[in-house]
């Protein structure tokens, strides 16, 4: 499924609500639900803070056999993805089973920043 919102912090809670609802119904452990919400929030917060003005944030959720695949993108002014030294990136890697971020060329010479993450039903995260 796909959720499209204005790239504004006011909409973070609705994306978290979607993540929580999907994970709950996919029988995720309570810790895994909490982690997915936080990871989704972290990726979307990064996208929102780097979005072009009046940009759109597109989130896709795919519930797979034992995991949820989340990807999100928005148009950005920079060709640089977020630093992998940042606190946010360390949080994302601690919370998820796999995470990636990169910039691709968008329409009209713009750049699109994308996050992709996998979260398994049962958490076995190790922390930072």
């Amino acid at each position: 499924m796909e959720v499209r919102i204005a790239a504004s912090p006011a909409h973070l809670s609705v994306v978290r609500a979607v993540a929580a609802d999907l994970a709950m119904r996919a029988d995720f452990t309570l810790d895994a639900i909490s982690d997915l919400k936080m990871a989704v929030d972290e990726a979307c917060s990064e996208l929102i803070s780097r979005s072009v003005p009046d940009g759109e944030l597109v989130c896709r959720f795919a519930v797979e056999s034992d995991q949820i695949h989340f990807s999100a993108e928005s148009r950005t002014g920079s060709t640089q993805p977020p630093s992998r030294e940042s606190f946010g990136w360390r949080v994302l890697t601690a919370l998820t089973d796999a995470v990636n971020t990169w910039v691709v060329p968008g329409p009209d010479g713009a750049h699109v920043l994308r996050f992709d993450l996998l979260k398994k039903r049962a958490d076995d995260v190790v922390g930072l």
Binding site: S13, D35, M38, D41, S45, G88, R90
Partner: protein, 136 residues
């Protein structure tokens, strides 16, 4: 003692209530159970949208106390913007020789603190009473 708060403040028989003026999904209520002790009770979700409001309230209180309790029992979500406020408040508290105590009851607060290793750095208590009653 009127202070600059990001929220409308109301003083009521010694109790400072800070109200939510916008539709922000966060509320912070400040009270003083004892001389020099301030408790900021937070409810709602602490994310990129609401963390600045929390930061404004707790930073303003740091000058008014020697023990600051931030009660997060009513917080349903704590994202990294909220964690950053706690870390910054902790540093600022150290600088001003204020003791910072967090009440971190439920999973939605404990889990982010644990995952990020912040339970090692910040002082947490299971309940408000434990936090207020702890030896100074």
């Amino acid at each position: 003692m009127p202070r600059q708060l990001p929220f409308r403040g109301r003083e009521d028989s010694g109790l400072t209530v800070t109200e939510n003026s916008s539709a922000l999904p966060i509320e912070v209520v400040v009270d003083r159970p004892a001389e020099g002790v301030v408790v900021a009770t937070v409810s709602g979700e602490v994310d990129m949208l609401t963390a600045p409001a929390l930061r404004g309230v707790v930073m303003a209180e740091l000058d008014e106390c020697h023990v600051l309790v931030i009660d997060l029992s009513g917080v349903g979500f704590l994202g990294s913007a909220g964690l950053a406020v706690l870390v910054e408040t902790s540093h600022e508290a150290q600088r001003r020789q204020v003791e910072l105590r967090l009440v971190a009851g439920g999973r939605s607060v404990r889990r982010p603190l644990e995952i990020t290793g912040l339970t090692e750095v910040l002082t947490t208590f299971p309940s408000r009473d434990d936090a207020v009653g702890a030896p100074g």
